[in-house]
Each structure stands twice: as C-alpha cells, then as structure tokens.
Amino acid sequence: MEMKSTREAFGEALVELGRENNKIVVLSGDLEDSTRCEYFKKEFPNRFFNLGIAEQDLVGAAVGLTFEGWIPLVCSFASFLLPSAYSVLRLSVCYNNKNVKLIGSHGGLTVGPDGATAQSLEDFAITRVLPNIRVICPVDALETKKALCQIASLEGPVYMRLARIPFPVITQDAQPFEIGKANILRRGKDVSIIACGLMVSEALKAADILSREKIETEVINMHTIKPLDEETIVQSARSAGAIVTAEEHQMYGGLGSAVAEVLGKRHPVPLEMVAVRDTFGESGEPEELLRKYQLKDTDIVNAAKNALKRKMRK
C-alpha cells in the first residue's frame, strides 16, 4: 500500500491549485519547510508571505487579504496556529465570516519526537465550537488533494488538519469526496466505527480482526468534523446499534464528543471512544506513542467489544 503524508500531498496540490487559481495566496508562520507550502513559495514567490513567528498577525493579515479578493491559506503547526491566534480566529475570521483557510499541520500524537508542545490534540474541539467555520481532517494523501480543491472553491472559513508522518493511502481517485458527507468504507451490522485521519486505517485493521471473530463491523471515514454528517451517524447507529469513535485527539470536545451529541439527541446507543484520555503527549516514535496512548487497532477492537457487550445487555 502506498504511504504518503497528508502534508506532502497538500504541498504538491497547493502548487497545482496556485497554477489554476491566481487568487490563491499563502501565508506561513516561518514553517513552510515543515508544512510543505515551500513548494508554492518556490513557484509563486509574489503570492507567498512568511510573516514570521507571530500567529495572531499571521491570521489577521490573511483576513485583510480577503478584502481584496485574494484567497489566503494560512499554514503553520496546528498547535501553534490555533491556540496562539484563537481570539483572531474567533473575531477577525469567524465573526466576520472571512474567506480564510487555516491549514494546521502536525495534527495528533504521530508528530512523534518533538513531543507534546508540537502535537495538536485539541484542534477539533477549539475550532468546531466556533460559528461559520468548517473543520476537515483528510484520511489520506488523495483525499487531501480533493479536500484542498473543494475548500478553495467554497466561500468562508475552513480549518484543515494535516499530519506529519506518511499514512497508508486507502482511498482511490474515483472515490467521491464531499465536505460534510461521510464515506462508508466497509459495511457491517454488529458495530460501527466512526474515525478520522490516520485512525481510519487503524479502524479498517480492527474490522479485519473483528471479522475473524464473526463480528461484522462498519467503518466510516468522518473526514468532516463540522458540519457533521448527522444522517450517516444516525443510520449507522440504527443498523449497528453500537458505535466506536476513533481519533488522534483529546477525548473531550473532538469527533467522539460530536458523535455523542448526535446520538444523544437523535438515537442513543452504546458509544465507546478511542482518543487521548485527558493528558498531553510526549516524545517518542509515532508507533510507540499510538501504542502507549491506546490508539491502535487492538484498542479499537477492545472498544468495539465493550460497545457490543453493552448493546447485548440492553
């Protein structure tokens, strides 16, 4: 299976986008090498601005560029960009409903040895609570390219999370991608796993393990955290009767919480969340971190079995 990071795919797709659309401008918080928007910088130096290590100003300047019809993409580490510029994101971007695209790379624990300060585990929570913004976490390199095209052509604020390490490419060119519409990757009637980003491939591996025990598992790629595809969640809850969520994010406020809100409102079923359990990360290799913080396929298998047990008891 091809392995490629979503940040690398983003960097490549950004150049193509820059060629197709001369309104695209890119702002960097002095991390264009890490976020891969340096490819754009090389081809379009006049439409690229490194505004230094100053995230509030970076996002504010992007807002200003929208006034003149430019479509700004702001690229930095998610863990620096969002918390540092949060007041600007809330007022200048979201309250003013400006056409700013925030690209946060280094999402999740798999940032690895840089440790907790660079690992973004709160980005879904702090973005999805804001009105007007869309929140996206592509599942792989191919989906990243599709997502980038779509967010550039729609009006309004978007946050898209990217990841550092190469992921398995699990989608195909022909597979449709629509913001706000989940993709069901595998059908199953016993339990349903709703995941995003890297955790989708862990969920697919978990589904294989479960199938050996005759447990039929549905796997849903919830690439859009907001607006959330409530219909797909409710349908899956109705047919499977038990849900597991999986994300490289804090347990509070992320995809699991968003799914819980929908289930609580519309169709309560047993729910288990695979997520980081209210703790910061640390240095380590990505694989070691996923294991230590219980975000592996086996952890999803255990969560699925717990959800199934609770379903049976009902």
Partner: protein
C-alpha cells in the same frame, strides 16, 4: 471631495458629539469618552481625506477604514449615517435587539468594512488589506483607527513589524491618544511612552498632531501622499470625553451612562 472648511468641520464635530450622546443615552449603555476623543479624526477622514462613495460602499477604488477600537462604535455609526451610508433614523436602534447597529463596530452596517470589539486586531487586518491592495496594484489607502489602551495588545507590535517589513506606505494608523483606558491613566497601568520613539524604531514614519485641531489633522493626512517606502503612524493627542467639561479626562466616562441631568447639561454645553 469637499475642501478644507474649518467652520463646516467644527459644526459637524459638534453635531456628531450631540448624536453620540443621544444614541448612548437612548440605548442605555455605550462608550462616550473614547468616541468624543476621536470625533475630529473621523470628520477629517470622511469629509476631507478619504476616497469613498456612500452610494457605492463596495467601490473597488475606495480607501479602506478599519476601526480597531470597536467600542467607539457610536462615533463610526454617526459618521456613516451623516455621510449617507444609511438613514440617520436608524441611529435610534443602536444596541437594540435585531438592529444592525451592534454595540461594537459591526460589518453588517453599510460602510463598515470590518467588525471589531476584541482590542488589538485591526492593525493586522489593515496590513493584510494593504498587502492585498499592493498585490493587485491599486492605489487605495488603508486607514486604521487605534486606541491608546488598545496598543497594549501585543498583536499590534507583530503587525507593526509586518507593515515596515513589507514597506506598506499605503497604510496609515491613527492613534487616538486620549491617555486614559477603562480604569485609569494609560501611564499608570501599562506605560507606553516613549510612544513616538517606539513606532519610529519599528520602522514607521511618525507624525504627532493635536487630534482636535483640523488644520493639524488635515495637514498630517496630506503628508501621507509624500511619504514613500514605509507605513505612517499619526499620533493624535486627544482628550477623552472632549467637548463636555465634566467628562473630559475622566476614566469613568469610558463607558458610564449620563444621568438625565448630566445628559441635559452635556447637550447644553455642546450646543454652546
């Protein structure tokens, strides 16, 4: 564009203060002190210097005005209504439910470029506009109206570096330096002096004026046409609560509501 007419400008300033006072009193809340201090600055911009068209608020060749100190909303709304961006009658809805005239500057109001209210965000946005204007090779200018309490926010200094780094000579920040923030003198809370030296050291051209003197204000604005290669920072020395003797230089008039007796006294003084 009307020419310099000091009598007409002074008359406008007097009316603006009356209208601001009436708006805040009718709303039952608002910020009078920091609106009064900026009256002559906005009159000079909207009636002397700025290129704008109330019949076509989104005219692409217009100059941009960003009111970063969003609490002085009454001042901007009064100015825009007077220019004809929306009916003056609408000022009565200030701060009321379902009104466009939100408590802090709101972009849903015709003529308002950008909503503000959390201090410190306007200058970065102004830098972005100035960058975008240069990128599309337009000659529009960007004006950013700042409060002196406001520039305690660090984002201003990030933006100050961006503006000089990118030689944004189409950007002019105007500081309404009334020297008082919500609870006390700026100098007693977080001293900003020497302010002119600070902005010069950040690469800006600095001009200091009496912010209530139309001759000095308009001269400073005309000087913008001659300054190339760097952004301009106009320090307008002003008086908080200017125009009503018992409101002047009093921190409490940042957001206090006048009693009916004070309202009457203030109107009489302004009507002078």
């Amino acid at each position: 564009m009307p020419k310099f007419d000091i009598t007409a400008f002074q008359e406008k300033a007097r009316h603006y203060r009356e209208d601001i006072l009436t708006m805040v009193c009718d709303a039952g809340s608002g910020h009078i002190g920091g609106a009064f201090s900026g009256v002559e600055i906005l009159v000079s911009l909207y009636h002397y210097k700025m290129r704008h068209n109330p019949q076509n608020p989104s005219w692409s060749q217009r100059d941009r005005f960003i009111m970063s100190k969003g609490h002085a909303s009454a001042l901007l709304y009064v100015t825009l209504a007077d220019c004809g961006y929306f009916p003056k009658e609408e000022l009565k809805t200030f701060r009321k439910l379902n009104s466009r005239l939100q408590g802090h500057v709101y972009s849903g109001v015709p003529g308002v470029e950008f909503s503000t209210g959390a201090l410190g965000q306007g200058l970065s946005v102004s830098c972005g506009i100035a960058l975008g204007v240069k990128l599309r090779q337009s000659d529009s200018r960007v004006y950013c109206f700042l409060g002196d309490g406001e520039i305690q926010e660090g984002q201003n200094w990030e933006a100050a570096m961006t503006a000089s780094q990118h030689k944004l000579d189409n950007l002019c920040a105007i500081l309404d330096q009334n020297k008082i923030q919500q609870n006390d003198l700026v100098s007693k809370i977080k001293n900003e002096e020497p302010l002119a030296d600070k902005w010069r050291s950040f690469g800006w051209e600095v001009i200091e004026v009496d912010g209530h003197n139309f001759s000095e204000l308009t001269a400073a604005l005309d000087a913008l046409d001659r300054i190339k290669g760097k952004p301009v920072f106009i320090i307008a020395h002003t008086v908080k609560g200017k125009g009503v003797s018992f409101m002047e230089n009093q921190a409490k008039w940042h957001s206090r509501l006048p009693t009916p007796r004070e309202r009457q006294a203030a109107l009489e003084e302004l009507g002078g």
